[in-house]
Symmetry: C2
Subunit: 458 residues, 2 copies
């Protein structure tokens, strides 16, 4: 509950764009983690100046402020863990302000949905590659704040690789610009780079300038089935070294393949230990075919049992169906604890071997699939009998997984961010001195610690 | 001159790797700006622990410390403007520690020369794209600190796009790691992004992990001569929108072409207003030819007078000779004041028109060439009679140029950084609040302001 003084201030400033009715508070209490923290109020800011006034007031009174896009984050970044104000950006910050074909860039407000933006630029022959799994509903502001990844990262990189410039409001109410509409800009510190992935804890982003590419004319999907994971991974390394840069290079493990067989009536061989799904693209048909031919050669060299490639849209979608429904299919094994971790791709085999040991130790099946091309694996610890005791054991297994990942020079999160979900594990990845440095940076932006406090373990 | 107490401390710690003989001080007093500031001593640190001890001591006694690679910077980043310690990295930090072909990355020390590194990875079929003009002598540590660009930025981006991870020593003597050996890493703030381009003012970089690509098998150069700059620029926009992503897309203006004619006995038509030089690459010969064919089509559509493309290495080098010697050829016009600025490439025509007005106002020839593909232009104000008075006028013209660039949504520096050269112009590009934020970040890393002080206008 907001003290009446604060309530009066907000109500006067925002009128009908201030809400503290319990229905609103409940609607903004959750995110994709399914955890729930009630905010004290919901604010729909109409412009930068209003955000400036709100932040200035909240700084003066030490009221937490949590900027929020679609609330689809997987690590709790949009949760009001200390109550306070939700700054809901979807109502007034959802415009594509400009698509500039000459400079191949766009200016957008943070509440624009990723997929809507992809479609808008596609109509002009342009291409915005970052495609997080949440692309149908997540916002570009959320994508920037979490530095979202996606399937296309192998060839096209991640969100930060497309952010040229930002406008943002600081906790002290100042409006800043960072970056320019240019690929090259080395004047001053790289504030754009720092704000990308800062999980809404440094500033409220109000405008994003994104780099666009020309849309590749052709794309094609291929799939290979392998009897040994080691062969599949060797095929991954050889593919990348051969000069092919696939758009996506995904893998499914044996447990996932068996779940797909069972759940969706597929017929993959029962001894299939790995499936690789590859997408390639080009502006030239024969170049596309060249890539598919090279892929086939590399895959067969590594004992691929079945190789399939489809240029028909429908059949391509059948292949992608497997990857997109991998997560869902795992429900046949029970409740899942799923973690998004990344290791250098050369260590994927070591990671999977370590995961097998954890599986044996705890007696839980652990199914893995994800982005083999960039070492980003979605690890699913399956609890067939989710008693409280078993879930507690499952979380122990998660902690062991994180220790394994760090030992293999990996990172706690490749895509989802730290938020609150992984905050307890930051000590595994960072020294106390590194945490202190991050706290000092946080303080430089937000001396009263009002912006999305208690996230990232800071 | 160092007080004897400090001198004794360093001498004891470093023995023969401490120098304060005047010959050494003079040798480390300059950089590519040709300005001169004598340090108080030169230190060749042998390892991270030694750097930690030096920084801790210098923090305690507020002694400036300037990390230095090859001293080839164009903006004074390596100059000891307040005396103090030069931390010369070339003696003990010049090893390529690891080239990992499976993960397509390398770990290097900051003193490795860019070109040596490019050659080393090329021998393994790999490719490190950033190629600043100083590549034959500049160090990777300097490249990271200045976030160096180069010719290949259109297709391949700039230094920051290749830095996966860093090790660095903070002014408080703590050794930190930032980033991982992975493309995706969203755990904690993006310290790697912040350290790239921080001009040695936040931390001393001791190790760099760089992303590598597979080396494209084929490359080819093409050249087009245009009678109107507007046609050439339209050809640039159409090329990029057509789906061709050239490795490099360079332009020369009329004054530069005439200088090349005169200095190197070339025969370009006297009415040639612009030359475009384009490099394309591919892993497939026919794809390369497709790109050249598309380029020719686009160029001819925009009234290109002569189109030439060469797959023979020797003839390619003749074309590149023009671009590489553009700067030198301008000496026929007198002494040059050269500035490296960038505008969104759609504003290049506006920039060149504005530059013509400045030229008319001051009566100086102004020759332009550079990276049309990314809007990064090297502007050369030519002073035929470099009296003190004329040079002062020249610097006035420079200031007007910067105002023009900012008005066209450009940046003070696309490649060279701010250092001291452009520090007086930071107020044109940044608000006082933005400068304050950068000062606060600097303070978070370096509370006693010892690391490369007085740079960037901070």
């Amino acid at each position: 509950m907001l003290p009446p003084k604060h309530r009066d201030f907000f109500k006067k400033l925002l009128a009908q764009d201030f809400e503290d009715d319990s229905a609103y508070l409940r609607a903004y209490a959750y995110d994709a983690t399914r955890q729930k923290f009630l905010p004290d109020c919901v604010i729909y800011p109409r412009n930068e100046e209003e955000i400036a006034k709100i932040l200035l007031y909240c700084s003066a009174h030490k009221i937490p402020v949590v900027p929020r896009g679609a609330g689809s984050g997987m690590s709790g970044g949009a949760l009001c863990v200390s109550g306070g104000v939700v700054l809901a950006m979807e109502k007034y910050f959802h415009q594509i302000l400009e698509i500039d074909t000459k400079n191949m860039l766009a200016r957008v407000q943070p509440g624009v949905i990723n997929k809507d933006f992809q479609k808008a630029v596609q109509e002009l022959g342009l291409f915005y590659p970052p495609d997080p799994a949440s692309q149908d509903f997540s916002t570009l502001g959320g994508n920037v704040s979490e530095n979202a990844g996606g399937m296309r990262a192998v060839k096209y990189g991640i969100t930060k690789d497309y952010v040229l410039a930002l406008r943002a409001v600081l906790p002290n109410g100042e409006i800043i610009r960072a970056g320019k509409k240019t690929i090259k800009d080395v004047a001053g510190f790289n504030l754009v780079g720092l704000l990308c992935g800062s999980e809404g804890s440094l500033a409220v982003i109000t405008e994003i300038t994104l780099k666009l590419l020309a849309r590749p004319k052709y794309e094609q999907v291929a799939m290979g089935v392998f009897a040994r994971m080691q062969d599949a991974m060797n095929a991954v390394y050889d593919t990348l070294n051969s000069g092919i840069i696939p758009v996506a290079l995904e893998f499914l493990d044996m447990l996932t393949i068996q779940a797909l067989n069972q759940k969706f009536n597929k017929n993959f061989p029962h001894d299939a230990a790995a499936i690789l799904i590859v997408q390639v693209d080009s502006d030239l048909k024969v170049h596309l075919e060249h890539q598919i031919h090279s892929l086939r050669t590399v895959f067969l060299r590594h004992h691929c049992m079945e190789f399939e490639s489809e240029d028909e849209k429908e059949k391509s979608q059948e292949i992608w169906f497997l990857r997109r429904n991998a997560s869902q299919s795992l429900s046949i094994y029970g409740k899942k604890l799923n973690e998004d971790i990344t290791v250098p791709r050369g260590n994927l085999i070591g990671l999977l071997a370590g995961i097998e040991k954890i599986s044996a130790k705890y007696g839980f099946k652990i199914a893995c699939f994800g982005h083999a091309g960039d070492g980003n694996v979605h690890v699913n610890i399956m609890i067939d009998n989710p008693t409280e005791e078993n879930l507690a054991l499952g979380y122990q297994a998660v902690e062991e997984l994180f220790e394994l990942v760090i030992a293999l020079e990996g990172t706690l999160s490749g895509e989802h961010g730290i938020g609150i979900s992984k905050a307890p594990f930051m000590h595994l990845a960072f020294s106390e001195q590194e945490m202190e440095l991050m706290r000092a940076i946080k303080k430089a932006f937000d001396p009263h610690n009002i912006l999305n406090p208690s996230k990232m373990g800071l």
